[in-house]
């Protein structure tokens, strides 16, 4: 080892970000160089190559497709890569550490969050659905459900006027109408059809269809329109008074799971992916109303997230690991990598909507972790602050990393990452 520590490695520094490019010349570095030293080296090179590069920047370095977290030699040895040839080291601008921004306090556990550019929508265990400004100012809160709200989602995150959906353990979902900024939200359509509590809801990319899943093990598809459809009838006055709420029945009911559907995602406008406690992930074709594909694993799935950027699925099961599945791969294991750093169950994962490598996870060990898929051994950052279990995380607004948990609060971290 001593000899190899002293030896030199030939590396070639590459980048996809043109503004930070350096001459494509192999550089000889000591093999025990770590990312910090690499960073120094790169900054020196950048200073030499361009005059307008003044402020030193932080970079992350990738070799063999994974982030270098140890010394370069150890990194290469771990992956059985020859150190004889010139090694291509790609560098990317480092994702800056998120900064704690705000904490929004609820009356009860926060079960679900989704935010747009300006507004935060949250569902709470005290049966309420809340809207907050992104600065944490309460706008409106309505307790219309009779049981805890388990899932909330905007129908169109770019157009809040299309309303939002909340699903609850009172076996119903509600589509709400809300005029942007107003202090009133009106339940327009009630989704009735589930026989047990609904756990999850997701809107199709074209905002036309809703998919819900719950403890009755059925996946149900609904129309997402705010207007009363032809089949809808005003529900009984006993429930909703004179506000003219419509009841809607599901377009389709897809049966196949044996236990609770804990998470539902749309992969495209016609395909829904569900993760269930029965140890399976199923892909459903909504036009043919059947199962397209199935992933079977050893543990009960608690959460999943589909990335349209990388077309892969992240799933958290009832253990400490987060698994990355590529359902398209036909050979070998479709579990591409496993992210292990949490110490208790991971209950929620969500992809960044803007970066195909980054995602966020929350666990019962009261930490939220920010990950890069190229660094499966260790997360990029640990976001602390929660005092109880983390139940939900959200990163649909690139600027804010949000997490809600059993300490009744939503913690907001600001993401300073600049998009290129």
């Amino acid at each position: 080892m001593q000899y190899s520590n002293e030896c030199q490695l030939q590396i070639r520094l590459l980048t996809k970000q043109e503004i930070y490019s350096v001459p494509d010349v192999p550089v000889s570095v000591p093999s025990n160089i770590d990312p910090k030293a690499l960073n120094q080296l790169l900054n020196e090179l950048l200073k030499e190559s361009s005059a307008d590069f003044l402020k030193p920047k932080d970079f992350d370095f990738l070799a063999v497709g994974e982030l270098i977290r140890l010394t370069l030699l150890e990194h290469l040895q771990e992956r059985n890569v020859s150190t004889e040839s010139t090694i291509d080291v790609e560098y990317i601008e480092r994702t800056p550490a998120p900064e704690p921004e705000d904490s929004i306090l609820h009356d009860d556990w926060v079960s679900s969050i989704q935010c747009t550019d300006k507004w935060i929508l949250s569902g709470c265990y005290d049966n309420s659905v809340n809207i907050w400004t992104s600065h944490g100012k309460p706008v409106v809160s309505v307790k219309d459900h009779s049981e805890m709200v388990k899932g909330v989602t905007w129908i169109d995150r770019n157009d809040v006027s299309k309303g939002f959906v909340s699903v609850s353990h009172d076996q119903t979902g509600v589509i709400w109408e809300w005029v942007e900024g107003s202090e009133q939200m009106i339940p327009k359509v009630q989704l009735r059809g589930h026989e047990r509590g609904i756990d999850c809801v997701s809107v199709s990319p074209n905002s036309a269809t809703l998919a819900t899943g719950g403890w009755d093990t059925n996946l149900k598809l609904w129309s997402a329109s705010l207007n009363a459809d032809d089949t809808g009838e005003p529900s009984s006055k006993r429930l909703r008074g004179a506000r003219g709420i419509f009841t809607r029945v599901p377009l389709h009911t897809l049966k196949g799971h044996k236990e609770d559907i804990s998470s539902v995602n749309w992969t495209d406008n016609h395909t829904v992916c569900t993760a269930s406690m029965d140890h399976t992930i199923k892909f459903w074709d909504c036009e043919l109303n059947g199962i397209k594909n199935e992933i079977v694993d050893q543990k009960a799935f608690l959460s999943s997230s589909w990335s349209t950027l990388s077309n892969t699925l992240l799933a958290a099961s009832a253990d400490r690991n987060i698994r990355l599945y590529d359902p398209r791969s036909t050979e070998g294991s479709i579990c591409k990598s496993m992210f292990t750093s949490h110490v208790l169950w991971v209950t929620c994962v969500t992809w960044s909507k803007y970066n195909e490598h980054l995602f966020l996870s929350g666990s019962y060990d009261s930490t939220v972790k920010m990950w890069d898929t190229r660094s499966p051994k260790a997360p990029l950052y640990n976001l602390r602050g929660h005092e109880g279990q983390v139940l939900t995380v959200d990163w649909s607004n690139n600027k804010y990393l949000m997490s809600g948990g059993t300490d009744n609060s939503i913690n907001i971290f600001k993401n300073k990452h600049v998009l290129h």
Partner: protein
């Protein structure tokens, strides 16, 4: 080839032989030389007239000799030496025939006289030419001179030259290279050296320089003779094959007879004919029996035989024997010393134990610490009456020298005692059975191979304020039910640990159980003397609503309830306050209820009142709101009851036994003997053939009901009383919790094959609960679908372990 040819040659004329041989010479020399030879011959003819005359005489004689020698060699081809010996005049031919005899013949030649001198010199010259023949391309000019001289001499004077050439032609195979003296050895032995071998003078023959591939290529391009150039392995020189050689190779390749002159179609001569010839070709030596035996030898032999008979001559063996008799005889005195004593009647003799070797105390000059001081002496004297208690049987004494040591007075006595010991104490070999403890432990599979099983703490359910005695889950595994000493029943969401509902009761909750019927949303709660049937109001609203509707209709029955039952239990409609809490039925018992358990269908349930004497077990039916007391007589203090999952059997555990009753036949089926003092709890395998019994005396007993009424296995995994046991409904797992705070997960595989016994492997010990009042874990319950286990403890928490 030679053998075939030779007889033919005999038939040829002398002239033809000469001609052919001359041609041969010419063929072997280069064509350039040919003319040169002829010139030389002419010159020699003209110049040496005297020599001509002399040699012509010799020629004639030689020619005569030649014919005769040819004939002889035909008859006796191998016997060269005899031909040489008989005909001295033919030494020319002999020279050519055998080089190794050269010296001898030359000596003989010297004796022949002056007449032959000239020829002999010529011969030698010629011979040297032969030797150098291989070199002819290398040193052409020299050879030319030599050969021209030699050949001119020969042709001038003698026809014998012709004969030598003839031999040379046919015998070259023996002497491929006359320069190299290494002989017929693999040439690669000289690969490492610079030389190839040794010439006649003992000098090294240096390897010629070999060119590289480029040289070779250039040679190939430039040298027109390259294709006919081969390397001589003996000399390492390149040899250009002559046309004759090429022709020879061609002929061999074409599978023709190599010799051009050989006539394949010559008339056939029958050598081995059946006709009796006057002069036979082959003659055998005469047989031995045709000789007469020697008379003198026969006389000698008869003399020897007579001497042997008379003993005058001794054979070697006899001599040995005689000598052995004369020498003194020795024998081993101690021959049996190192062998086991060979005794006739005693088998497996055990030798007497050896006396201990004398120590320092026995010495005539013992070290001072061995010599008794006053106290030791006193002790010695004190033990006078019990001498066997003494450490030593003598008093160590010091003497100035060995001379002064007196005779040991107790010698005879001690010898006698020793003999007495040996005589009176029979010796026997003790058979010892050695079993290693490891070999007694059965081979169990590794827990790693028996996954999945719960092994990590996942969620803690906190909210109770006192010991949690009992837990249960609904059928989907969504909700967890717990009853505690703080007089509350709580319903939890399993996945998050959220307490959804808290139902207050009036007394300590001892047992809770969720209704196994999915169509009914009911839980049984045993609290104090009461059993509450509660609709928890979680899960499907349709089911909860319907359950309420069903229970509202009070069934009317005209069956008279016996007084005995009436005094035991009273079915009451819940009060308003209780109804709001979810209580749908209220059963008031006359004694404290410690356990309630559902029948598999969810209509009947059983209660245990340990203090109820003969009325301690009560079975109630919800749909008819009726109860019955199955037993008329008390069999003991009832600890626990259990319904069989499929058959109409009821298991009743008293303090020491488990009795199995058939509820339809109303008879006892079996009585299980637990061999323990106090049973605490029971659990039945979902298959229904295996029962797990936990006892307060730290044991867990696994009964295979088909096998025996005695435990199939007794598991002593816990340090203190076992309070909770449970089977998983789907996975081959069971768990037990005890007061020592240990939750032990075990693998319990039951096979469908009746011949195969259940496999029981303890897998994991989980110790996360806190002790409280010497209590540890009370309730153990498996998740109905996942391989997870719940445990409720005296520390008022419930813990979920996941795989």
């Amino acid at each position: 080839m030679g053998k075939l040819e030779k007889p033919q040659k005999r038939k040829l004329d002398k002239t033809t032989v000469k001609e052919r041989d001359l041609n041969n010479i010419e063929d072997t020399e280069d064509s350039e030389e040919e003319d040169f030879f002829k010139d030389q011959i002419k010159e020699d003819d003209s110049s040496d007239s005297e020599a001509d005359i002399d040699e012509s005489e010799i020629d004639e004689s030689d020619n005569e000799n030649y014919e005769s020698s040819e004939e002889e060699s035909e008859e006796n081809p191998d016997d060269v030496s005899s031909a040489e010996g008989s005909e001295n005049e033919e030494d020319d031919e002999q020279d050519e025939l055998s080089d190794n005899k050269e010296d001898e013949t030359s000596e003989e030649e010297a004796q022949i006289g002056d007449k032959h001198e000239g020829t002999k010199q010529d011969k030698n010259k010629y011979k040297s030419k032969d030797k150098a023949q291989v070199e002819k391309h290398k040193a052409k000019t020299e050879v030319k001179v030599q050969t021209s001289e030699a050949i001119s001499d020969k042709i001038e004077g003698s026809k014998s030259l012709v004969t030598t050439n003839e031999y040379e032609d046919h015998d070259t195979s023996d002497e491929e290279d006359i320069r190299n003296t290494t002989g017929n050895i693999p040439k690669n032995w000289y690969d490492e050296y610079k030389h190839l071998g040794y010439d006649w003078d003992g000098n090294k023959i240096i390897k010629p320089e070999t060119g590289d591939h480029l040289d070779e290529f250039l040679k190939r391009m430039e040298d027109p003779d390259f294709w006919r150039t081969v390397k001589d392995p003996q000399t390492g020189q390149n040899v250009i094959l002559s046309d004759e050689d090429i022709n020879l190779i061609k002929r061999i390749k074409a599978q023709k007879i190599p010799d051009v002159s050989f006539d394949e179609y010559a008339p056939w001569i029958e050598w081995f004919t059946s006709e009796v010839e006057k002069m036979p070709i082959r003659s055998f030596p005469e047989h031995k029996r045709s000789f007469l035996p020697s008379r003198t030898e026969a006389k000698k032999v008869s003399k020897l035989v007579h001497a042997l008979k008379m003993g005058w001559i001794k054979t070697r063996e006899e001599r040995e024997k005689l000598r052995a008799k004369k020498e003194p005889q020795f024998y081993m005195l101690w021959s049996t010393d190192d062998q086991a004593e060979d005794m006739r009647r005693i088998h497996k003799h055990i030798s007497a134990p050896k006396r201990l070797l004398p120590g320092h105390a026995e010495s005539y000059n013992p070290p001072p610490e061995y010599i008794f001081d006053a106290k030791e002496m006193k002790d010695w004297n004190k033990q006078k009456n019990t001498p066997w208690k003494r450490k030593l049987h003598f008093v160590p004494q010091k003497y100035e020298s060995l001379r002064r040591v007196p005779a040991y007075p107790r010698y005879i006595k001690e010898r006698f005692l020793r003999c007495l010991d040996l005589y009176l104490c029979p010796r026997a070999i003790k058979m010892k059975l050695s079993i290693e403890p490891e070999s007694l432990v059965p081979k169990l599979p590794s827990p790693r191979d028996l996954q999945p099983f719960p092994n990590t703490l996942a969620i803690e359910y906190k909210g109770h304020t006192d010991m949690v005695r009992s837990i249960s889950t609904d059928k989907t595994g969504q909700y967890l039910l717990s009853g505690s000493d703080d007089c509350t029943v709580k319903i939890w969401e399993v996945n998050t640990g959220r307490c959804l509902k808290t139902i207050q009761t009036d007394s300590v909750v001892r047992c809770v159980e969720w209704c196994p019927n999915a169509a009914l949303s009911l839980i049984l709660v045993a609290t104090g003397n009461d059993v509450l049937i509660i609709n928890p109001g979680v899960g499907d609203f349709l089911v909860t609503g319907k359950t309420d509707d069903v229970l509202k209709e009070v069934p009317q029955s005209d069956v008279v309830v016996s007084e005995r039952v009436k005094t035991t239990v009273q079915w009451c409609e819940p009060e308003e306050k209780l109804y709001e809490r979810g209580v749908r039925m209220h059963l008031k018992h006359f004694k404290m209820v410690t356990q309630v358990t559902w029948h598999g269908k969810g209509d009947y349930f059983g209660c245990v009142m340990p203090d109820g004497q003969s009325r301690s077990v009560l079975i109630s039916q919800i749909s008819k709101r009726k109860s019955q007391l199955p037993f008329a007589k008390s069999k003991g203090l009832v600890q626990s009851i259990l319904f069989h999952p499929t058959k109409p059997f009821l298991f009743v555990a008293t303090q020491r036994h488990v009795r199995i009753y058939d509820l339809i036949k109303q008879a006892q089926v079996k009585k299980l003997l637990t061999n323990s003092k106090w049973i605490s709890t029971m659990a039945i395998h979902p298959g229904g053939d295996n029962l797990l019994v936990g006892t307060y005396d730290r044991k867990m007993l696994w009964f295979d009901l088909d096998l025996s009424t005695k435990p199939y296995q007794t598991l002593r995994l816990h340090g203190t009383a076992v309070r909770g046991v449970a089977f998983h409904k789907r996975y081959p797992l069971f768990a037990s919790g005890s007061d020592d705070r240990n939750l032990i997960i075990s693998h319990g595989m039951v096979y469908n094959d009746l011949l195969q016994n259940p496999l029981i492997v303890p897998l994991k010990r989980l110790q996360d609960h806190q002790a409280f009042n010497d209590f540890g874990i009370f309730g153990v319950h498996f998740h109905p679908l996942q391989p997870w286990v719940f445990s409720s403890g005296a520390d008022s928490t419930i813990k979920l372990y996941s795989n």
